[in-house]
Amino acid sequence: MPKDSGIGASPKRREDLRFLTGQGRYTDDINVHGQAYVHFVRSEMAHAVIKSVDTTAAEAMPGIVRVFTGADFEAVGSIPCGWQITDRHGEPMQEPRHAVLAQDKVRHVGDPYAAVVADTYAQALDAAEAIEADFDELPAVVDMKEAAKEGSTKVHDDLTSNLCYDWGFVEENRDAVDAALKASEHVTTLELVNNRLIANPMEPRVAVGEYTGHDEQYTLHTTSQNPHLIRLLMGAFVLGIPEHKLRVVAPDVGGGFGTKIFHYAEEAFCTFAAKACGRPVKWTSSRSEAFMSDAHGRDHVTTIELGMDKDNNFTALRTNTFANMGAYLSTFSSSVPTWLHGTLMAGNYKTPLIYVNVKAMFTNTVPVDAYRGAGRPEATFQLERVIDKAASERDVDPIALRRQNFITEFPYATPVAVEYDTGDYPATMDKLEELGDLAGFDARRAESAKRGKLRGLGVNCYIEACGIAPSNLVGQLGARAGLYDAATVRVNATGSISVMVGAHSHGQGHETAFPQVVADMIGIDESQIDIVHGDTSKIPFGMGTYGSRSLAVCGSAMVRATEKIINKAKKIAAHLLEASADDIELKDGQFSVTGTDKSVAWGDVTLAAYVPHNYPLEDIEPGLEETAFYDPANFTYPAGAYACEVEVDPDTGKVTIERFTAADDFGNIINPMIVSGQVHGGLAQGIGQALLENCAYDADGQLLSGSYMDYAMPRADDVPFYDVDHSCQTPCTHNPLGVKGCGEAGAIGSPPSVVNAVCDALRSAGHDVTHIDMPLTPSKVWSAMNNG
C-alpha cells in the first residue's frame, strides 16, 4: 500500500504551483533599480594574440556607462580550479591563469576580451561593434592528440606544453596490469570517443551584481547550483571580498546538469563592475552565447583493453584516455577524468587488476567540466562497450558474461581504491530481464523484421560513486574545498519548521522531498515544514547540489540536525511531564512517558521553548534551532542494469528507441515519483548523447554546433515511454537515510545500452560492425552498414 505522506510517499510537488502559473522567480526575472546591462565582446577566433583593444569610439556612444578590457582585471585574481591533480610522476598539474577578461591572448571562440556596460542592452551591443580590436591570429589546436605532439602550438605560452597532467591510477599497478594482459587468454581492445556535449539547461545563465558603498556589501544573483561555492571561489580567489561582505543568491534555477556548478567569469565581472560602475550590472546569456561560454562536457578519446582467462573471467583492464580540458581549467574540470572516472573503472565486476592513464590536454576550445554523471558516464561507456565487444569475440551471451564477473560480496574493495558498501547486481539484472521482457525479444525482432526494420537489444550495467564525499579523502586527492553539507532546522514557537539547507534545488524537488523526511522523524504534517535554499545570507555554509549528493549528504545533515532538535525537545517534554528525558518517546508528534498515558504535544513543547515560563533554564537554553554539518564516511554506490531496444531503418540508418528499461538500486527511496522523474530525465540525456548530441569544432576551432540548428537536443518524439524500476534496494550503510542518490544514473547508464543495441541490430543483418562512435546519427549508421 503506497504511503500518502512521509518517507516513501509521492506527494505532489509544492514548487509546481508557482512554476505552473508563471510565478517562478528565475534570475532573469530579477531587475534591480538603476541596473545597467553588460554585453561581452567575445573572440571570433579560436586562438590569437591581442595586439590592442581600442574602446575610444565605443565609449563615446550613447548610453555607455563604461567599457572594460583585460587591463581592468590585471590586479584581479584568476578564475580558480577547485581540484589539484598530481601526475604519475608526483608533479602538480599545469595550471594556467584564467583572467576574467582575456589579456594577452584569446584562446577559444567565445573567449571574452572586452565588456560594454550601458543603460540598455541594445546600446551595449551597438557600442561593442565600435570596439576596434587588433589580433594576430595563431594556428588553433583542437584535436587532443595533435595537442600532445611535440612542437604543437601551445594554448598557454607560459606552460611547458599543452599537457595539463599525465595521470596514472593506480600507478603501482601499471606493470602488473601490463603483465596480466600479456598473460591473458584473450584481450579485447576497443578505441572509442566519448562525444563532447553541451549541458543546455533550458534557462541560460544570468548574473546580476550589486554593490552598496555605505556598508561595502556586494550581492550577486546568479544561476548557480551552489551559491556558497560561488561565494568561496569568487570572494576568496578572484575578487578578494570577505565572505561577510558578499551575498550570493541563486533563486529559482532552470536546470543545471553540472554546468551551473562552476564559477564563471561573467559572475565575477558583474560583481566587480557593480562597484566600478556605481550601479547594478546585469548579464543575461543568449543561447548562442551559452554554446560558447557554458562549460562543455565529456570529450574523451579512449583505448580500453580487457583481458580474460580461458573461462572468460576478467583478468585485467587497462585504459588510456585523452581528456579535453579546453582552453582553461574550469572549477571541477581536472577531477572529472581522474577521480570521478578512474575510480569507477571496476564497474560492477571483480576484475583484479586495473590501470587507468589519463592525459588531460589544453586545446583552443571552450573549457570542459562536469556534465550530468561527470567521469562516470565515460567510465561506464568504455567498460560496458568493451564487455559487449568481448562477448561478441568470445561468442558468449553478453548478459551471461556480465553475470559471471559480477561482484557479489560486500563490502568490496576495488583495485581502483574505492570500497563499495552494498549492492546486489544479480538482483537488478533479474529485475531488468523481467521488466524488459528480454525473453520476448526474439519475437519482437521477428515482428520488426516483417516491417523491414532491424531490431537490436543492448544491455549494460553501471555503477556510480555519488554523494561526494569524505572531505579528508577528497582533500588528499587534491580537492581545494570540503565536500560536506549543512542544514539548520529552525522550529518556530507554534511548531512549524523552516529548514535551511546547503543543497540547491533546480528541478530536483527538494522543497517537497526534504520535508517528507523531517515530517516522518517528528510525526507532524509535511505542510508544517518549509525548505529555504539558495541564499548565502539565509542558509548555513553547505556545498550545493551536484553529483547526486543532495539527499545523501545534505539530507543526512538535515537528519542529524533534526535528531538534535528531537533530543532537546525530549528534554523540554521531560520537564513538562516531570519525567526523565530517557523515558520520553516521540511518536506522531506526541511526546509521552514510556509506560504511562502522560503525554504532551509537539506544539506545546515548541511553545515552551520560546515562552520558557515553565522551563529548565538552568539545564538547557531556550529556543529550538539546531545546525548540523555532515561529512560522509564514503561515497554512495548506486548501481543498476539497463536495456535498450532499437529499430534501425536499413534504408536510412535512422535509429528509433522502441523500448527502454532501467532497473536501479538507489538504496532507500524518499519520494518515488521524484526518483522516477530523475531517471527519466537522465535517460533522455543519455539517449541524446548516444543518438543526437554532438558538440563539434572544425580544425580551425570554429564551433560547428553553435545553436539548436546544429546541436540536436532530444525532443519528445525522439524518446519513448520508459520502464523504470527501483524496487531493488540495498540501503547505503553509512548515511542515516540509507539513500544513494539518483540524479545521474539515467545519463550514466543509458549510452552504452543504446550503442550495444544498434551494433546488435546491425550484426543481426550480417554487418560486421563492432563499434560506431556516438552520436549514432543516421548518416553514421548508414555509413557503418555500407562501408564497414
Binding site: D28, M673, G677, H680, G682, A684, S707, V719
Partner: protein
C-alpha cells in the same frame, strides 16, 4: 516608437514600443509578466509559447507591434478564476510533468493549443506536436503522460509515477 494596444489575459494593455521589441520582451519587461521565458534565439525551444488570437506562437519570434490589436494569452492567465490550477496545469502537477519549471509555461501553452485543436490526441500526436518545445529535465515521459491525462485518458498503465 509605436503605440501598441492589445488584450493580455483578458485585460486591455498598451505601451510605446520600438520596432525591434519582441512580444516576449513586451510581456516580460513592460507588463512584468515574467512567466513567459526565453530559452533560445533560434525559435526552437518553445519556452516563450503564448497564444495570439487563440493560436500558439513563439513570443520570441514575433514583434510586439505585430500583436497590436491582438488577444494574447500567457501562462499567468491560465489558472481557473478562483486561482486553482486548470485541467492541464493540474495534470502536470499530478503526473510530475515538470522539474525545473523553465520550459513549463511554454509546454502548458502548447498543450492547451493542442487540446484545443485535438481534444483526444494519441501519444504519437502529442510527441509530434511538442516538436517545438524542448525540455531538458523530464525526458518528456511525464509531460506526455500529463497531456494524455488532461485529455481525460486513463494513464494508469503507463509505467511509473
Amino acid at each position: 516608437m509605436a503605440q501598441v494596444s492589445m488584450t493580455v489575459n483578458g485585460k486591455a494593455v498598451s505601451g510605446e514600443v520600438e520596432g525591434r521589441m519582441l512580444l516576449v520582451n513586451f510581456l516580460r519587461e513592460d507588463l512584468k509578466l515574467t512567466g513567459t521565458h526565453v530559452g533560445c534565439d533560434t525559435s526552437q525551444c518553445g519556452a516563450c509559447v503564448v497564444h495570439v488570437n487563440g493560436e500558439a506562437v513563439k513570443a520570441c519570434t514575433m514583434f510586439a507591434a505585430e500583436a497590436d490589436g491582438a488577444d494574447v494569452a500567457t501562462i499567468e492567465g491560465q489558472a481557473n478564476a478562483d486561482g486553482s490550477l486548470n485541467v492541464i496545469q493540474q495534470a502536470f502537477q499530478d503526473h510530475h510533468g515538470l522539474q525545473c519549471g523553465f520550459c513549463t509555461p511554454g509546454m502548458v501553452m502548447s498543450a492547451a493549443a493542442l487540446l484545443n485543436d485535438n481534444p483526444n490526441p494519441t501519444e504519437h500526436e502529442i510527441r509530434a506536436y511538442l516538436e517545438g518545445n524542448i525540455c531538458r529535465c523530464t525526458g518528456y515521459h511525464n509531460i506526455v503522460k500529463a497531456i494524455m491525462a488532461a485529455a481525460g485518458q486513463d494513464v494508469t498503465s503507463i509505467a511509473a509515477e
